[in-house]
Amino acid sequence: MSYRPKQLAHVNLWVRDADATMRWYQDILGLHVYEHRPGKAAFMSADMDQSHEIAVMTLGPDAEGYRKGQVALHHLAFRMETLDDLKELYARLKDRKVRINTVVDHGISLGVYFSDPDGHGVEVYYELPRSEWPRQDQVFSGDRGHFPGPWDADKLTRQTLATA
């Protein structure tokens, strides 16, 4: 037995309009909807073996948004299977005219950052398999430059978001 979880499973967000947010995640990321309670909530997955990886719950149109400097979810991140898949999604973001906040090279991974309709940060990233990480501690301390791609012009355009 182990009290350590197997993995992160899902994130549950309060949003202004769960239906609108659901349509956005379906369109941009191609997520599957496993349960929908119109007007109230939606449960979506990228990995079909999870009942949901993101749940969104309606608060109403007047709900207050994120205030700078507060405790908050900064972003949620979806892992792409291959660097080519990340390129495909990047092209989709450009096609849908989703504004890219920044692109950051973390050494063993590369992340493309944008925002959902309520301003939640969303990252899509490719990460090297663990067997290819140069080190197993301080894993982000390695060399950069492993992931050239169509995003090179967007890299580090907003340093303030260059966290992880």
Binding site: P5, K6, N12, F43, R67, L76, D85
Partner: protein
């Protein structure tokens, strides 16, 4: 190629004190620390094949907490490898005197909800494997009662909000 991500990889939280939160996530959930920037940030994983499943970033001791009915995080959830592991995690919460907000039976899963040091909602959950779900749409619209356990007394308290 596909634009659909493989899975949810991580969440990144802005917290008051990432060192204090780091110790809490290590102690309560047994997460592994893959990268630490003392005073600034910590990157933790349950699944060791991920460089991080939770990143914690310090915003400062005076940072306002998330308000009720504010757009943002409801909770993050970790999947346990077995129902026995969920029992182990439950006993650890009790042993650490961590207040349990509520326990919810979702039919195909059971979740235990509590809070991290900044009040961020955290769930530990056991979910049936997908091949055992009674249905593949509206997946939560099924009978409850599959997960008896040491939490049965706690489970009688109603959930304060929809909380999947």
């Amino acid at each position: 190629m596909t634009h659909r991500p493989k899975y949810l990889g991580h969440v990144n939280l802005y917290v008051r004190d990432s060192d204090a939160s780091l110790r809490w996530y290590q102690d309560v959930l047994g997460l592994h620390l893959y990268h630490h920037r003392p005073g600034q940030a910590a990157f933790l994983s349950a699944d060791l094949n991920q460089s991080h499943e939770v990143a914690l970033m310090t915003v400062g001791a005076d940072a306002p907490l998330q308000l009720k009915r504010q757009v943002g995080l409801n909770h993050i959830a970790f999947m346990m490898g077995s129902l026995d592991d969920l029992k182990d995690a439950y006993r650890r919460l009790k042993d650490r005197d961590i207040a349990i907000d509520h326990i919810s039976d979702h039919g195909i899963s059971l979740g235990i909800y509590f809070r991290d040091p900044d009040g961020n909602g955290v769930e530990v959950s056991y979910e049936l494997p997908r091949d055992q779900w009674p249905r593949s749409d509206n997946v939560f619209a099924v009978e409850k009662g599959r997960f008896p356990g040491p939490w049965d007394q706690d489970a009688k308290r109603p959930a304060p909000v929809p909380a999947l």
